[in-house]
Symmetry: C2
Subunit: 421 residues, 2 copies
């Protein structure tokens, strides 16, 4: 069943060939047919609840036997509510605006040629993820909605659950006439299959890793296929001299503590030397249960603040820990961010509009905010409907990647017999 | 002077560090200041004509001594007219619309957050090219106009000319206060410097090769930095059953023969079995001096047509040679293109609008045309003002890459104290 006997390079080549054929069909499907297929998939997931839960029980039992941590088991675990939420998510994506066919711009040339740039799917997308089985569905349907074929490679500990979810997805979309190869699940737990995906240039158009830093780092290091990802979310919140004290506290506490494990959580608090109420911000974070690691000046704010090491400025804690540094005005904040940011999300708190605009213009990150919590760094919060990930690279798509980020464009040129002089 | 004693990895690291610092300055320069610097650079090139011609004479003499082909020497050679054309090109780019700061879209969220996506420069761009010295100027100024720092690595045979052109460029832009490191020329002819550029991930944001297939293939094979390029331009012109006979002849002859050495030249002519006048098209091409290599059916059109081998369908001739195949309707043409295209440019000749739209939708290439010559595949012809190259990949930019393709975007979020529930 696990098909671990198959040569991974041949396996991925075969899957990619079938994905390419499916992508050619998907690229020309109408929005209505894709939406109808997704609605059928949602229904099929609800119908298959018992099979999915049964498969998940086996995965969870094996995970417990293998000594996986409670946190990992929680990521793996499904129940009725979680399956319903997965199906709800499919219906939400079914209703999103389809980017395929959208005209980006048009241009009538003096010689009468009519040019237009039209959005088309990327083609074949590889998704490499870990133990959360919902990614099987979430990633698969975002690819399908945007007209792409998907090759999914989930974590081995979730293999039975992923297969059950995948079977339901395929049952739904094939019922509406879409190709079964639109969404394929790599049928082996052999890690060499991941390696084969990463070097499948020309066969897989883009790889999107979903998971922890170790996974993302491996993908970025080994991939010859382009990768959309973020390795770190070392986000900064800067409290300017002209910050409103109440906003400073509310934003700092929310940016750090709302959920400490998300990539948009603030990891370093920067405070202007000239800000009048730094102890109140630090105290609010400490009182909220956050450990603070500060530079020499920050340590004097509160005896509970310990000394930061050089490493702290480059650490994504994903925990209730925050580094705190004093900086000399917005220029100092920008210099600290330029030196330590992972180019994910930065925020300034200030009532000075000119300072805010300076920060927005100069901070070189995918997302730059003014008077808002860095925890808003999310495709759903940005109104994109759903996101497949957040990218901190500079090519193709930056920040939250949703349906549009899974497309490219082509140039259509409509003439009446023009030849070039 | 050639600095071939320097470790190429350290050299590129040093250049990239200086480029990154320059790019941070350039990213915030106004359009007016960038345009003014480019106008000064154009003037400096005109002023330095004698030095440039002197350097070029030395390069050309060395090239002759080294036995370079007349075609290569012509690519290398400058004269007064060519220098004036280079300076004219700088002035044209100075006047183009600056993409930096353009708002792609805006979105007011229900919680009051104002989102906007704003174009920003990519950062540091590496250009690797061969013997045409004009690329030193063309590529450098397109990068500068779009707010990027450039690292240029030209061919060793043009080194003296490139240095003279580069010195004039830098004299012009520094006169207007822009950083001297905005456009850097790799000072060594050591080929290892190219290798060092290709693996400078995180230091160089994108590599654009300009030159022959050997260069592009090496760059694509070795690069870990993302590459924007096209390896081949295996472009197709398809004559549909419903083609207008006069347009069919005019477009086929122009698409193939206007200039055979450009990447948008048609390399394969596909003719519908049901087209009534195939011999007239073939005859016109033959009479225009084009050798035709046909499948069995095509060979019967004219005794001058020789037999095509399997390789012909995958060959970019860049010469007055054309492959000719009969296909069964637009579906057959699309199948041939799917099997053999390099995803550059395809064109259909037909008076049937529905067939045309089918072809435009289904042909998976960067540029797809109806009743127009594939030789229009060019940034200038597309109204982009200037192009740095044509990309056949699917990520980031596709087709002619001009100023917009040298930018990315960031998300700006303007709030009034919002925190995430």
């Amino acid at each position: 069943m696990a098909r671990d006997d198959i040569d991974p390079t041949l396996l991925i080549k075969d899957m990619a060939t079938r994905a390419r054929a499916a992508s050619a069909v998907l690229a020309r499907e109408t929005s209505a047919r894709k939406a109808s297929a997704l609605m059928a998939a949602a229904k099929a997931i609800r119908t298959a609840e018992a099979e999915i839960l049964n498969a998940n029980e086996q995965d969870v039992a094996a995970a417990r036997a293998n000594g996986l941590s409670p946190a990992m088991i929680d990521r793996l675990l499904l129940d009725s509510g979680r399956i319903a939420a997965i199906a709800d998510g499919v219906e939400t994506v079914a209703g999103l605006r389809d980017p395929v066919g959208m005209v980006i711009d048009e241009n009538l040339r003096p010689n009468g040629l009519k040019l237009s740039r039209v959005r088309v799917p990327l083609g074949v997308i590889g998704i490499i993820y870990e133990s959360r089985p919902n990614v099987t569905v979430d990633a698969g349907i975002l690819c399908l909605k945007s007209g792409n074929a998907a090759i999914l490679r989930g974590g081995s500990e979730a293999m039975r659950t992923n297969r059950a979810l995948h079977a339901a997805l395929i049952a739904g979309i094939t019922e509406k006439g879409l190709p079964a190869d639109s969404i394929q699940l790599v049928p082996t737990t052999d890690r060499a299959a991941v390696g084969a995906m990463l070097v499948a240039q020309g066969m897989i158009d883009i790889i999107i890793p979903r998971g922890g830093k170790t996974l993302v780092a491996r993908v970025q290091d080994e991939a010859r296929v382009p990768v959309l990802a973020h390795l770190d979310g070392i986000c900064h919140t800067y409290i300017d001299a002209a910050a409103d004290p109440a906003k400073a506290i509310a934003i700092a506490v929310n940016a750090k503590m709302r959920r400490t494990g998300v990539c948009g959580a603030t990891e370093t608090l920067l405070i202007d030397q000239a800000y009048a109420h730094p102890a109140a911000v630090a105290g609010a974070l400490l009182d909220a249960g956050c450990a603070l690691r500060g530079d020499a000046q920050a340590q004097r704010l509160d005896p509970r603040i310990t000394a930061a090491s050089d490493e702290d400025w480059d650490t994504e804690y994903l925990d209730n820990i925050c580094a705190v540094a004093f900086v000399d005005s917005v220029a100092g904040a920008l210099a600290h961010i330029a030196a330590h940011s992972s180019h994910h999300t930065e925020s300034i708190v200030t009532e000075n509009a000119a300072t805010a605009e300076q920060f927005l213009a100069a901070a070189d990150s995918a997302i730059v905010m003014h008077n808002a919590s860095t925890q808003f760094a999310d495709g759903g919060e940005f109104g994109l409907g759903a996101e497949i990930g957040i990218a901190t690279g500079r090519l193709h798509a930056r920040g939250p990647v949703a349906l549009e980020g899974l497309t490219t464009y082509k140039w259509l040129v409509r003439g009446t017999g023009q030849v070039r002089p």
